[in-house]
């Protein structure tokens, strides 16, 4: 089955593909080697509308929805997963919770700038002591008049160093584990907000991952997203959507692995013939392409369900689980097809192999996805 992409989807795909191939691909290797954040490219993605795909038109976005978003994300991730995750976080983890949960004032204040890429955003949930156990977070907010005073540390924050604003989950009530968490919008320049350690990573080396430190950071109560105590619910709802974006990232990386492998199999000769004539290589390519197509359809379907307002938690988890594991298998096979060359920086599959790994970990590990799926199946046990 060819998933029905509309004419509009095709144009979005074409723009994303052309921008990825012409603008991002030529500099991706350099940025990844240097570990430098491609700020100019990210800003240009914003100008073209790629940062506000989930933001309604009245707030400066296009409101196109999740299916067009994953179509575009696949193209960007196909050439550079670092730029891809920056785009995914901005759309799904920063804009989306503001669209769904924030009041009108906050929407007016922040969404137009986020949708145009004038502002970059980050999503801060994980802490040094809490990852998968998100509700175990201990950073705190204490009410003081019309504001809250925040203290704590956030870990592994994507785009954290460049972000103009941060959607942060902080504990406002120590007596309730999940209902004691509140989402705040923080601004970079505020006193008590600082960027801590920049992490050196296996992959995604030109995306920014940092620690954020809050020291007596005063936040107006007006900057609460939704209402007091709603933070955990917002965090989980947001991650359901973010997962679809990461699944699209995994599909993009796998497509890059397949493209590079097909090219290599046609060009590289061994035993006096192109290695693509060997069934051992053909079967690898056939498996890669088949699983890739299956993953892509899972991603499209989860995105479609979300756009239609249907339950999609299970499908998003399935898409993320399958696509991320598929992507790592594709990256492993791509390196194998390249042989020794695949282990070298000179060939792109070396980067794809390192970049694919994180898709099994962030925005919910594969283990967490299985738990989510199983909970949907075993409703009778609750």
């Amino acid at each position: 089955m060819q998933f029905p992409l509309t004419e509009e989807h095709r144009l979005i795909q074409e723009t994303a593909r052309n921008f990825a191939d012409n603008e991002i691909a030529p500099v991706a290797d350099r940025h990844n080697r240097e570990g430098s954040f491609p700020l100019e490219l990210v800003k240009r993605l914003g100008e073209l509308g790629f940062m506000g795909m989930l933001v309604p038109e009245q707030y400066g976005g296009t409101g196109l929805g999740n299916l067009p978003l994953v179509v575009a994300l696949e193209e960007v991730n196909r050439v550079d997963a670092s730029t891809g995750v920056t785009m995914s976080v901005q759309n799904s983890l920063v804009c989306a919770p503001i669209v769904h949960f924030a009041n009108e004032t906050l929407k007016q204040k922040y969404l137009p700038k986020l949708a145009s890429g004038a502002f970059l955003g980050a999503y801060a949930l994980s802490e040094p002591g809490s990852g998968s156990d998100a509700a175990g977070l201990v950073s705190s907010a204490v009410k003081d008049g019309d504001s809250y005073v925040l203290n704590g540390t956030k870990n592994f924050i994507t785009t954290g160093a460049e972000a103009d604003i941060v959607v942060a989950m902080v504990r406002t009530d120590p007596n309730h584990k999940t209902r004691g968490i509140t989402a705040f919008i923080l601004e970079k320049g505020w006193k008590g907000f600082s960027v801590g350690k920049k992490e050196e990573k296996l992959g995604l080396r030109s995306s920014s991952t940092v620690q954020l430190v809050f020291e007596d950071l005063r936040v107006p109560a007006a900057n609460i997203v939704g209402e007091l105590g709603l933070g955990f619910k917002i965090a989980m709802h947001t991650l359901d959507g973010g997962r679809i974006g990461i699944a699209a990232q995994a599909v993009g990386i796998a497509q890059a692995c397949l493209d590079a492998s097909v090219k290599y199999a046609e060009e590289r000769e061994a035993f006096n013939q192109p290695i693509g004539r060997f069934q051992a290589v053909q079967f690898k390519l056939a498996n890669m392409a088949t699983k890739l197509e299956a993953a892509r359809l899972l991603v499209y379907n989860a995105a479609r369900l979300k756009d239609e307002g249907q339950p999609h938690g299970k499908e998003a988890a399935m898409a993320k689980l399958f696509a991320s594991e598929m992507s790592n298998e594709a990256a492993r096979e791509a390196v194998q097809i390249h042989g020794g060359a695949g282990y070298l920086e000179d060939f792109p599959v070396e980067r794809y192999f390192r970049d694919a790994r994180i898709t099994e970990i962030y925005e919910g590990t594969s283990e967490i996805q299985r738990i989510v799926i199983a909970r949907h199946l075993l409703k009778g046990l609750r």
């Binding site: 004419e7 509009e8 095709r10 144009l11 979005i12 074409e14 723009t15 052309n18 921008f19 100008e47 073209l48 509308g49 790629f50 506000g52 795909m53 296009t62 196109l64």
Partner: protein
């Protein structure tokens, strides 16, 4: 002003082209079609003129050909063109550049365009004839393969820079005029997402034989004085012969081969 930009759907340069069973056409199966790259310069130039003038200037994209022409028109609209016209009719099939130019000129004429922009050539058949022929049918001046275009303040003339052997040539044209665009004229924009959404709401006007005011004898294969007889694939590159031995032996053997096998000495 009214600016007409001519856009054509052509196979992507990276597509592998296969000759169809009839021997006189390309098999479209599996071929990705895109806007002719030189036409992108034309669309961009039209949009830049409109943006510079900031008046009621409109840019109309016109494409002739099969149904896939709609896709490049949609791309032109997404880039920012105001209107689009798809020129298509079974009677138009098999036309040579001159017959197609006759149709396009007939469609463009009532639009009363001040400026007609096209690519310097289409990268499929590389004839580079349709645009100049349109100018001839419309009896307006033309400048081809242009790398810079300036309008006079009164919008009555345009100055076009053309690259010629050893230098540049500046040509002044009275408007209306036709200009074909060369790489270097500008940097075409990407269709933005808001642009794509606006394009979705715009209608693409269909124009066929009846609307053109021409007869079936004037268009398509019937109206053509030339026709494609056959396409040939390029001959496969013969195997490369490596000559072994030290430099002296190699040189000697090379001379012998050039004389006896290649017969070029």
């Amino acid at each position: 002003m009214k600016i007409v930009v001519l856009v054509k759907s052509v196979p992507d340069t990276e597509s592998k082209i296969k000759i169809a069973a009839d021997g006189v056409s390309i098999d479209p199966a599996g071929v990705k079609f895109v806007m002719n790259p030189y036409d992108e310069f034309a669309v961009e130039e039209g949009l830049r003129i409109k943006e510079r003038l900031k008046d009621d200037t409109t840019v109309v994209a016109v494409s002739m050909g099969p149904e896939r022409g709609v896709e490049v028109l949609r791309t032109a609209l997404a880039m920012g063109a105001d209107d689009a016209i798809h020129v298509s009719d079974p009677a138009f099939e098999g036309g040579d550049a001159q017959a197609n130019a006759r149709v396009l000129a007939a469609v463009i004429k009532p639009l009363a365009a001040d400026l007609i922009l096209g690519g310097k050539q289409a990268i499929d058949f590389d004839a580079a004839q349709t645009c100049p022929a349109i100018a001839e049918y419309l009896e307006i001046p033309q400048a081809l393969i242009v790398t810079e275009l300036k309008l006079s303040d009164d919008k009555k003339t345009a100055t076009a820079r053309r690259r010629v052997e050893g230098g540049d040539e500046l040509v002044e044209l009275s408007l209306p005029a036709l200009v074909t665009c060369e790489k270097g004229l500008n940097e075409p924009r990407y269709a933005s997402l808001p642009g794509i959404m606006k394009a979705k709401k715009k209608e693409i006007k269909k124009v066929g034989l009846a609307d053109s005011g021409l007869t079936a004898e004037q268009v398509g294969a019937a109206g053509s004085k030339s026709k494609v007889v056959k396409f040939h694939n390029l001959p496969e590159r013969p195997a490369v012969k490596m000559i072994p031995g030290d430099a002296a032996t190699q040189a000697k053997e090379l001379v012998r081969l050039l004389r006896e096998e290649a017969k070029v000495l």
